[in-house]
């Protein structure tokens, strides 16, 4: 009985992803056909199958070394940036004055071109882990900050009044009311940040690194090795998708009540 239900659930999942998978396959075939029909030089546009075989050859070692390194940077940056953003949101929600003073600077921070800051950090910190983590953190900060602040404010005035009738402390209002009602918003922000963090780490690697997917891609570009570049792009975006889905799974675990998850 339960095996049947389990199997039908798997079928459900498969059916849900089938259309997306079909689009992917159609895209690959179109790519392959286009490259072969137009007869473009392979060093400019490698075909899908060539990239595929490159992935088979180089993928495992790339994943084990460079991608792993890039993801460590991305995840550390994600954790740092999100943590800082949640802290800032807590301060903002309890001290309107501080929010008025600092929020404009958060927007300025967001408008600073990360690609321009990355080389600066590399000059300061060298080919180390630090500039990558900082860039990834910077890029994660804003979406988490905005969403979390909005989440803390998303409570109804009657819920606050109920807590005041119960003479609840600020602390109790924070944990029992603000935190749970902000969680859907926090997760919406974290999901955006998870994909951005990988991009941040790679951009930082472009400006100076001796390992990592960004390093591999930039080195390959000097050699016009487009096959390796495509392989690097595919790997890093696959890692981003996995990271995004891990956060999505955590979200489903944390938000169990009906209509908790915000539509994206």
């Amino acid at each position: 009985m339960s095996i049947i239900r389990e199997r039908s659930r798997m079928v459900d999942v498969a059916l849900r992803f089938l259309p997306s998978l079909a689009v992917f396959v159609v895209g690959l075939v179109a790519w392959e056909v286009w490259v072969n029909v137009r007869d473009v030089p392979a060093y400019l546009y490698p075909s899908a199958s060539e990239v595929g075989s490159e992935l088979l050859d180089e993928g495992p070692s790339l994943a084990a070394d460079d991608l792993r390194w890039t993801m460590i940077e991305a995840i550390l940056g994600f954790l740092l940036g999100s943590f800082a953003a949640v802290l800032a949101a807590i301060v903002f929600v309890h001290a309107k004055f501080i929010e008025r003073v600092l929020f404009p600077w958060a927007i300025v921070l967001q408008t600073v071109p990360i690609v321009a800051v990355a080389p600066l950090l590399t000059i300061w910190f060298g080919f180390t882990l630090r500039p990558k983590v900082i860039i990834a953190a910077l890029i994660c900060f804003f979406p988490v900050l905005v969403n979390t602040t909005k989440g803390f404010r998303s409570i109804s005035s009657q819920a606050i009044e109920l807590m005041r009738i119960l003479s609840a402390t600020k602390w109790s209002i924070f944990w029992r009311l603000r935190v749970p009602s902000s969680l859907p918003y926090v997760f919406a922000g974290l999901k955006v940040a998870s994909t951005l963090s990988v991009i941040g780490a790679i951009v930082a690697e472009f400006t100076g690194a001796d390992r990592g997917i960004g390093f591999v891609i930039i080195q390959a570009s000097y050699r016009l090795d487009t096959r390796l570049m495509f392989a690097g792009i595919a790997l890093s975006s696959a890692a981003g998708v996995v990271f995004f889905n891990i956060i999505g799974a955590l979200e489903r675990l944390a938000l169990r009540w009906p209509d908790a998850r915000l539509e994206q």
């Binding site: 109804s156 109920l162 003479s167």
Partner: protein
């Protein structure tokens, strides 16, 4: 059981939004003795919810003052003298029905009247009283609007408040459930001896439940009539078919109609 408190409302006025704002209430005088059940009836926008907020210390009146058993509303609120059933149920969607009823207990902590494992027993019993047995583990998002309102009622009763403030608690219920909960409410209030200030749009409900019915009129909200309800307690539902009941209901309804006509005449000028 808790000893209840009376409420003395003295010349209370409430003005919203500064100089050219709305005057929600003006010159409200009302004395409610301990253990009394008073119903507030009036058209939408006449300041019923505002008055409940002022009495419970959620809102500071712009004139006049309120005394709650010798305390200011704010002091009484800090002493957790009030149970408040809001116009919207205001349940926490991440807590199950039982969790919502247990919320006051968790928030009050050491100040809760029924601590420890006893509190869950009390909560389950209250849910049974309001007809929600079997729904303890549902989320608010999984029950109907009227059921949510009943959860909010159970939540307000869960910590034996001295004073119950109820803002149209049964507005979303069908007649049968409403009748049953009316009887239940009278029963609970008699046992606990709590003072009740009850807002409703239904004159019938007001007369059936209350010792006195206070009629309010809008713009600005003021008291037009305070009617004593002559029926002895305990009351049963049949009381509503007595001629005296109908006469009082008709009289009070006439009050609302007259107000409407005055309003119409003013508009036509």
């Amino acid at each position: 059981m808790t000893t209840s408190s009376g409420i003395a409302i003295d010349g209370v006025g409430m003005q919203f939004g500064g100089r050219q704002g709305v005057t929600a209430l003006e010159g409200i005088d009302l004395n409610i003795s301990a253990g009394e059940f008073v119903a507030l009836v009036g058209p939408s926008g006449c300041g019923k919810s505002t008055l409940l907020r002022i009495v419970s210390g959620l809102l500071e009146p712009t004139s006049g003052c309120v005394d709650v058993g010798g305390k200011t509303p704010d002091e009484a609120r800090r002493d957790i003298d009030f149970g408040f059933v809001f116009q919207q149920p205001a349940l926490f969607p991440w807590l199950r029905v039982l969790g919502n009823v247990l919320l006051p207990d968790r928030v009050l902590g050491r100040r809760s009247p029924n601590r420890g494992p006893g509190s869950e027993h009390v909560a389950r019993e209250l849910l049974r009283d309001v007809g929600l047995e079997g729904f303890e583990d549902h989320y608010p998002g999984q029950v109907s609007g009227g059921m949510r309102q009943r959860v909010a009622l159970a939540r307000a009763l869960s910590y034996d408040p001295k004073i119950l403030l109820m803002d149209e608690p049964f507005g979303a219920l069908d007649e049968f459930t409403r009748d049953r909960l009316n009887l239940q409410l009278l029963d609970v209030c008699k046992k606990a001896g709590s003072t009740v200030l009850f807002v409703t749009h239904s004159i019938q409900e007001a007369i059936f439940l209350a010792d006195r019915v206070v009629m309010l009129s809008p713009r600005p909200g003021h008291v037009t009539r305070i009617a004593e309800v002559p029926f002895p307690r305990p009351r049963n539902l049949e009381v509503r078919y007595e001629p005296e009941f109908a006469a009082l209901a008709g009289e009070l309804r006439g009050l609302l109609v007259v107000e409407d006509e005055v309003e119409l005449a003013r508009k036509q000028l």
